[in-house]
């Protein structure tokens, strides 16, 4: 064991550190009392802590034995003898229980049944999914409303405009949220069967990304794409929100639109596909 060196310096630094620490801690109490900013509180408390730490380190490094000390490593790997002894004790106990096959089997069955009773209450945590993930409140004739619940008139958006809309009566509903866009009618290249889904250049797509469910909210008019800010899934709005870049495996489901006799936008039916990210039963009817 070597003698501690530089005791004078260590003592000096230790003294300074502890004095500074005391001042810092006191400073924190003052800063708290006068409602100083978090910056002052943090700096003062930090000085209090740092002084304590530095003092202890100086003490340990300057005034305490530095070794190197040597400790024998305990040999924890047991000898065969000890293991035999343990095995013997265990076996003796097991023999005293005896061989009761039926009893043992019943014990296993009872324990298993009991385990089920522990797991059963997990079912209380939530409802069954059933068809909730595929059903929405959109349907033929359902009015399109904005987030305040106001119906959307056919002259609400200019070309290039975008609006988040919901089915009437379900404002702010998570799975019905829809992004409404207006583009030049002649630019649209609708997928087969959707030729009349976009009156006056209005297009409506599910706002839930088919990748991981984020709201697809960024409409870039120069490239006519909808962009999801989470993982940059990109959908070309002119041809059925086809996925053109990023991780989304499917286009955004499209909502057929119509304009009713009062000049308001209504849905012409439900989404072209169930909205939302992928799931196991996505392709099932």
């Amino acid at each position: 064991m070597s003698e501690p060196r530089g005791q004078g310096a260590a003592t000096r630094w230790g003294v300074i550190a502890f004095v500074v620490s005391t001042l810092g801690s006191a400073g924190f109490v003052v800063a708290y009392a006068v409602e100083a900013s978090p910056q002052w509180q943090g700096v003062a408390l930090s000085i209090g802590l740092a002084g304590l730490g530095a003092g202890l380190v100086a003490w340990s490094k300057g005034l305490m034995p530095q070794g190197p000390e040597v400790e024998e490593r305990p040999d924890i790997e047991p000898s065969t003898d000890e293991e035999r002894k343990t095995a013997a004790v265990f076996t003796r106990g097991r023999r005293s229980i005896g061989r009761r096959r039926l009893f043992g089997s019943l014990l296993v069955a009872a324990t298993g049944a009991f385990a089920a009773t522990i797991l059963t209450p997990i079912r209380s945590l939530g409802p069954a999914p059933r068809d909730k993930l595929r059903s929405t409140r959109w349907g033929a004739g359902v009015r399109v409303v904005d987030e305040r619940g106001h119906p959307v008139a056919a002259d609400e958006l200019d070309v290039g405009g975008v609006l988040t809309v919901f089915p009437e009566g379900a404002v702010k509903s998570a799975d019905d949220q829809t992004v409404l866009l207006r583009v030049g009618l002649e630019e649209i290249q609708p997928p087969p069967g959707r030729e009349d889904w976009s009156p006056e250049g209005y297009l409506a797509y599910s706002k839930i990304c088919t990748h991981a469910g984020c709201p697809v909210g960024l409409f870039q008019t120069d490239t006519q794409v909808l962009l999801c800010p989470c993982h940059q899934a990109t959908f070309a709005v002119l041809d059925g929100a086809r996925s053109v870049f990023g991780p989304a495996p499917r286009p955004l489901p499209q909502l057929p639109l119509a304009i009713d006799d009062d000049g308001f936008l209504v849905a012409g039916g439900g989404f072209s596909e169930p909205p939302g990210p992928g799931r196991w039963t996505l392709g099932r009817p």
Binding site: Q39, Q41, G42, V43, L45, S46, I47, L49, A50, L52, G53, A54, L56, V57, W59, S60, M64, P65, Q66, P68, E69, V70, E71, E72, R73, D75, I76, R123, L125, G126, A128, P129, E147, D175, H211, A212, C214, P215, G217, L218, T223, V225, L227, P229, C230, H231, Q232, V244, F245, G246, P247, A248, P249, R250, G276, G278, R279, W280, L282, G283
Partner: protein, 518 residues
């Protein structure tokens, strides 16, 4: 001095009180005499431990003010820009805590910084244990405990910042729901049970709160206890060196030197975290605004210990597998399968390596990374892949900052995710083999003789003695003369990869008009 002198002091009497009841004297003696090896890399684990203490201390304070409720309220507090806005009670309580509770913001920011440091220290500690082979027999169980600690720590951190119900974290929870929903067969049920229904579910915040402040801290505390108890039982590993062998530990004794030093370290870490908490803004949720199901923000960044998952989600091409009417979802691969494989490899690593090397002996002396080129190369490849996923996780911000095309950047990252780890692995392997062949033996012949597995005896015979002639050793025994040539080839490969990436990036940048830009 007689024994009586020791026991007749106040401390002595107190100790006696306990000893009579617990018989703790012998145990205490051995712990006071416990020797800690000296090396700065042994501090990483301690930093994690002390950051955890700070997390618990600040977390208790925060929990007293946080309100885990989605109920909508209209803000009317001290922070003017949000006045009049509808928000959840949870978000309101966080804003109140930040602006209207004295020392509240200090506690909140210190808590957040401590979480980042906690995970960083765990990663650093794990890297040290990995690269030095400290996970080998007899420490496999402690490696497994540590990996589980890391996994729980990631979840705990994610749960913690998701409680705030701001626009960024709310979006993260939405993604988490989708990943759970995308698990084959059980996904929908799992999501409905975890969240209480279809997104956003029922009362999810109060569940998350219970998990974050009770369940997972209890698990973490339990695992930390096991982790430390196992270390104490088996004693620390140590690097080879003069006087050190497989049968001893050389360093500071617990009492008084190490206890004082480590106590000082605790206060220093707490000091750094408090200073950061007071002066460095983190997660200013009042700027992000309250979470809203259909509002969206760009530039969303997860904390880095989750960011790699976000990166993987982004890197995955837009594929999903459909067969017989069922779907293996896109998000399942990067969100569940890849992390599952990564953690599985982590957990199994001690056994995987022992299988390959055939070395199943106990080791208490650490490897120098250079002497285990294959392991070191694999570790470096893993770290490199991790970094690529981090870059991918923030590539939207990178693209916006440097005015690059996100499309080009993303395609480049997809290539780099595989190319860069492979290149780094080759490079590491060569550097290790070079260093190991040229370097002086770290341990003297005396130590080499005293333990069966001193890793650093000499270029040739040291390796032969190390791994029992496994694949590692045959690979590591590649002739040194080839190293220089391989070096040159590698440099060339790296430069070429970089140039190709740059050209691809520039070309795609030109072509980006008409496609999604930034």
């Amino acid at each position: 001095m007689s024994v009586r002198d020791h026991t007749d002091t106040p401390i002595g009497r107190l100790a006696r009180w306990f000893d009579v009841r617990l018989g703790a004297a012998e145990f205490t003696t051995s712990k006071l005499n416990y020797v800690f090896p000296k090396h700065f890399t042994f501090l990483f684990g301690e930093i994690a431990l002390y950051a955890f203490v700070v997390l618990v201390a600040t977390g208790v304070f925060l929990a007293l003010f946080y309100s885990p409720s989605e109920a909508e309220v209209v803000y009317g507090g001290d922070y003017q820009p949000l006045v009049g806005l509808p928000m959840s009670e949870a978000y309101e309580s966080v804003v109140e805590l930040s602006f209207s509770v004295r020392a509240g913001l200090l506690m909140r920011q210190t808590h957040h910084w401590a979480a980042l440091v906690f995970m960083g220290a765990i990663f650093a500690h794990m890297a040290r244990v990995f690269f030095t082979g400290a996970f080998r027999r007899p420490r496999e169980l402690n490696w497994v405990t540590g990996v589980v600690l890391m996994m729980v720590g990631m979840l705990e951190g994610f749960a913690g910042y998701s409680l705030l119900d701001d626009l960024l974290s709310g979006t993260g929870v939405r993604i988490a729901y989708s990943v759970v929903e995308g698990i084959p067969v059980v996904g929908a049920w799992a999501a409905f049970l975890a969240f209480g229904g279809e997104y956003p579910g029922e009362g999810f915040l109060s569940r998350l709160f219970t998990v974050h402040v009770f369940l997972m801290p209890a698990i973490l505390a339990g695992l930390i206890t096991v982790h430390l108890a196992l270390v104490a039982r088996q004693h620390h590993t140590q690097f080879p060196g003069p006087g050190k062998s497989e049968h001893n530990v050389v360093g500071h004794r617990m009492w008084p030197t190490y206890a004082t030093l480590s106590g000082g370290l605790f206060f220093l870490i707490a000091a750094v975290l408090t200073l950061m908490g007071g002066t460095l803004q983190i997660n200013p949720v009042w700027l992000y605004g309250p979470y809203d199901l259909f509002t969206v923000t760009s530039g969303a960044q997860a904390d880095y210990y989750v960011l790699w998952l976000q990166g993987l989600l982004r890197l995955m091409p837009g594929w999903e597998v459909r067969a017989f009417g069922y779907t293996i979802t896109n998000q399942f691969f990067p969100g569940v399968l890849v992390p599952g494989i990564v953690f599985g490899v982590f957990l199994a690593w001690p056994w995987l390596e022992a299988r390959v090397t055939g070395d199943r002996r106990s080791h208490h002396l650490l490897d120098r990374p250079r002497d285990r080129p294959v392991r070191t190369a694999i570790g470096m490849a893993g770290l490199t892949g991790f970094v690529v996923t981090l870059v991918a996780g923030s590539d939207d911000v990178i693209a916006a900052t440097f005015d690059w095309s996100i499309v080009a950047l993303r395609y480049t990252e997809r290539v780099l995710l595989f190319a860069l780890p492979a290149a780094v692995a080759l490079l590491t392997y060569r550097v290790c083999a070079d260093l190991s062949a040229r370097g002086e033996p770290a341990a003297g012949p005396e130590e080499a003789a005293s333990g069966p597995a001193v890793a650093t005896a000499g270029p040739g015979e040291g390796r032969a003695a190390t791994g029992g002639g496994g694949v590692l050793d045959r690979l590591a025994a590649a002739p040194v003369s080839r190293a220089t040539g391989a070096w040159r080839r590698l440099r060339r490969a790296l430069v070429t990869t970089g140039m190709v990436a740059a050209v691809v990036g520039a070309l795609a940048d030109r072509l980006r008009n008409g496609r999604a830009g930034r």
